[in-house]
């Protein structure tokens, strides 16, 4: 195992965050604060409690997930797309590193970054609404699994994308609607029955539901199902990455 390589890739990616600290950390924090002000304080004060939780507090897990998903995907996809775009990827491809080490370095850094952002947002949320975390261990498990699997997904997009537009395409067209319709701002039970069924096909529902359960002990779907879904998604991403390296998809001709 070429640990030195994993280390330098990881450090290089983290350094990029450090150099662009404002974009990397400040912007998700600012946008989340805006959500809190608008939905939590302004509109939220007119909305009744959901399952005994004030609306402002209710949306915290969903908001964190929203940032986590978009950040994981954009960090990881940019991290691998940019060297492909500039051509510096030649060095990684010609180095004595295995695909696993490459993924560990890039995805590890992207996941770390989103985890940090997630925790910062959590702390920011604490300034606006009273927070309680009933299952802190499970909260960390959900946080970690989400960061890792969506960073992997971002890595896949970064390899798949052939231009900057495509890089934005999936987050914009698929992830954002799925998160918004996945119960970030409402409980699934508030929907008409037919839509509740439709919603169950949205994988993000399981993420948010499980994550919210770790905070307030309330969930739309069973916690076990949530964990299973996220592990399933993680496995699918792993399989796809494995296939990409095996065939050299868009990396090697």
């Amino acid at each position: 195992m070429n640990l030195e390589a994993v280390k330098v890739i990881y450090r290089f990616e983290m350094l990029r965050t450090w150099n662009t600290l404002m974009q990397s950390v400040a912007s998700p924090v600012i946008s989340t604060s805006l959500y809190f002000i608008v939905f939590g304080a302004a509109i939220g004060s007119r909305i009744q409690e959901i399952d005994g939780v004030s609306y402002g507090a209710f949306i915290v897990p969903g908001l964190i997930m929203l940032s986590l998903l978009t950040q994981s995907i954009s960090n990881a996809s940019f991290g691998i797309f940019f060297p492909r775009f500039t051509g510096t990827i030649y060095e990684v491809l010609s180095a004595p590193v295995s695909p696993f080490e490459i993924v560990l370095g890039y995805v590890g850094a992207a996941a770390t970054k989103s985890l940090i952002i997630g925790l910062i947002i959590l702390a920011t949320a604490g300034l606006f609404v009273p927070l309680r975390v009933e299952h802190p261990l499970w909260m960390m498990v959900f946080l970690l699994l989400t960061c890792i699997s969506f960073s992997l997904f971002g890595f896949i997009i970064g390899i798949w994308a052939t231009n900057f537009e495509k890089l934005q395409l999936i987050p914009l067209l698929i992830i954002t609607p799925l998160v918004f319709l996945g119960g970030s701002f409402y409980s699934i039970s508030m929907l008409p029955p037919a839509w509740q069924t439709v919603t169950l096909f949205n994988p993000v529902v399981y993420l948010i539901s499980g994550f919210r359960w770790s905070f307030y002990g309330i969930s739309d779907v069973g916690v076990g199902v949530s964990v299973m879904m996220i592990v399933l998604f993680l496995s699918a991403c792993l399989a796809l990455v494995w296939w990409m390296f095996r065939t050299g998809y868009r990396l090697k001709q």
Partner: protein, 308 residues
């Protein structure tokens, strides 16, 4: 001695059907400078890219120090450094950081003293805390060389190292290459500047349309394929070549005061003696004689033309 790189029946057909390499077999000797010469699109970069692991071969095999580049890639790749043709560098990286990154990527522990020495050798030491984007093109190429050498490779590939580089820097580059060779590094460079191959290579391989036309020791190649020219300077200029000399391959030059004979040193009879005799018989007086050997450029052009 076992060659440091053995390429056997290597073929590469790209997905779009382009046959970039057509059954190439090549040995690279330890410690030599091998120049791969060929026009654009000949397959030079593809060959290098396969050996370095950037492109997958369609068929055939490559070993580095006796180990296969695919099954034993960790070993073979840490032996090799690659300086790519394009100036591909992360624009915002600091010089020192990008070189240290390369070293770590190839599995070597961080060694700031070695990196400093390397940067000093490449006249980059005073630029080490600068962002890559602030450097000139020539300096960027040096950074690429530093990156390629960061993990102390035994084999260095230089893909068109002097393309778009001014004369002075080109000379510098050649010095760097020579110094590396002295330290025992095997160097394979591609170029379409023949003078480059002529200047620094020990052996020259000519590639065209994915095929290796020949690999030959440089001097041997020039001797084997070289045409020589004999220039005969006359005391009195002549208007045209006399009838009696029509059986020779002659040209008249310098307003009739020079007769040039082109002959092949490979042929058993160069007919020089006879020509000189016939010139004398035609009543002309010789002023001076000189011979010149054709350059690699001429050899190359004739080889590629033959192929086409």
């Amino acid at each position: 001695m076992q060659p440091v790189i053995e390429v056997k029946d290597l073929c590469k057909t790209y997905q779009d059907g382009l046959k970039a390499l057509d059954c190439i077999t090549l040995d690279v000797h330890r410690g030599e400078i091998l120049a791969l010469l060929g026009p654009n699109g000949a397959g030079k970069t593809t060959l290098i890219s396969i050996i370095c692991g950037i492109v997958s071969p369609t068929s055939g095999s490559v070993t580095v120090d006796g180990r296969d580049i695919i099954t034993d890639y960790r070993f073979t790749r840490q032996m090799i450094g690659l300086v790519p043709q394009e100036l591909t560098l992360g624009t915002f990286d600091l010089v020192r950081n990008t070189v240290c990154f390369s070293r770590g990527l190839f599995g070597k522990r961080s060694n700031p003293a070695y990196v400093d020495d390397l940067l000093r050798d490449l006249s980059l030491l005073n630029k080490k805390d600068q962002e890559v984007r602030t450097l000139s093109g020539g300096m960027k190429r040096r950074v690429l060389i530093a990156k390629a050498l960061a993990h102390e490779p035994r084999v260095l590939f230089l893909d068109e190292p002097t393309a778009g580089v001014d004369v002075e820097l080109r000379k510098d580059m050649w010095d760097i290459v020579r110094r590396l060779r002295e330290s025992g590094v095997t160097i394979i460079l591609t170029t379409h500047y023949i003078e480059e191959a002529e200047e620094i290579a020990d052996r020259v391989g000519v590639i065209n349309r994915g095929r290796l036309l020949l690999v030959e020791e440089k001097h041997m190649l020039m001797r084997k394929l070289g045409k020589k020219r004999l220039t005969v300077q006359l005391k009195e200029p002549i208007a045209r070549i006399p009838e009696s000399l029509s059986s020779y391959d002659l040209d008249l030059a310098a307003d009739g005061s020079e007769i040039i004979l082109t002959y092949d040193i490979r042929s058993s009879r160069t007919r020089i003696t006879a020509l000189l005799q016939d010139i004398k018989n035609a009543g002309m007086t010789l002023k001076d004689l000189n011979t010149s050997q054709s350059s690699l450029e001429e050899i190359f052009v004739s080889l590629v033309k033959e192929e086409a």
